[in-house]
């Protein structure tokens, strides 16, 4: 079944999955993060009122925007890698290279977004 964990939590945390494991974890965090916070954003816009306004004020705060941009951009770029490698299975041989390309795309785009968000927040 494979549904029981046979190792201790500590061993599990030290799992040496390296690059692919890191993308898996970040993909999951990004996906769940987007699902939760975009749902809250939708509900807040729908319900309005003081609670909705507070929720949307938090959502639109620049610190939170940095987080949700990270979720969305990483999920999108990693998702494109997964899609391409899954739909053309022969390319799976180049997974490691694909992950390098992924970071090479993600870091400049996200870095630029961080720069713009912080500059706007600082009033520039």
């Amino acid at each position: 079944m494979g549904l029981k964990r046979n190792v201790s939590l500590f061993t599990g945390l030290r799992y040496q999955g390296k690059g692919p494991m890191l993308t898996f974890v970040l993909h999951r965090i990004g996906g769940v993060g987007m699902a939760v916070f975009v749902s809250i954003h939708l509900l807040a816009s729908f319900l309005g009122g003081s609670g909705g306004q507070l929720a949307n004020a938090i959502y639109e705060h620049w610190v939170f925007q940095l987080f949700i941009f990270f979720c969305a951009l990483f999920h999108a770029i990693n998702g494109l890698r997964i899609t391409i490698l899954d739909l053309w299975p022969k390319l799976i041989e180049y997974q490691q290279e694909a992950i390098w390309v992924e970071w090479a795309v993600f870091i400049p785009v996200y870095g630029f977004a961080v720069f713009v968000i912080i500059r706007t927040a600082a009033g520039g």
Binding site: G31, S39, I117
Partner: protein, 143 residues
């Protein structure tokens, strides 16, 4: 050597609802790329190059809704709230909700092992999908 998979029926090749959703997840990802790139190109055509910064542009790209450009320097909001963009936003919303809710089911399946628990997750996921779709459509078409 086994028989060529092409000669087997779809069910013999393991085609079931989960496989179908596996394909849907990948294909809807490509569809969302299409929607988002289209929205960004549309924004550039409507004058975003001089009136919006990168962050505003991404916000518009992830959901082409007029409220997402209100805080930018766009002078004329009229083209940004046209029925065309509402239709595009609705398409993106429906694809994204289906993709996201199915993603949550996949995540839950990794941690919930019992058949009963998985059934409950699926039931809740359908309710969440319908609710989010209708609420989203309501916001898009009334804002």
């Amino acid at each position: 050597m086994a028989e060529k998979s092409r000669n087997l029926s779809l069910s013999q090749r393991g085609m079931n609802f989960e496989t179908l959703m596996w394909y849907f997840t990948r294909l809807s990802a490509l569809a969302m790329y299409g929607f988002i790139l289209f929205a960004i190109i549309g924004a550039l055509v409507m004058g975003a190059r001089t009136q919006m910064n990168f962050a505003d542009m991404m916000r518009w790209g992830f959901m082409p809704n007029g409220t997402h450009v209100q805080n930018s320097n766009v002078t004329d909001l009229e083209p940004w709230v046209s029925p065309f963009w509402k239709l595009m936003g609705s398409g993106l919303l429906l694809v994204a909700v289906a993709h996201g809710v199915h993603g949550l089911v996949v995540v839950c399946d990794d941690y919930i092992a019992s058949a009963r628990g998985r059934q409950i997750v699926r039931f809740l996921s359908i309710i969440m999908m319908l609710a989010m779709s209708f609420i989203g459509l309501y916001i898009i078409w009334t804002s």
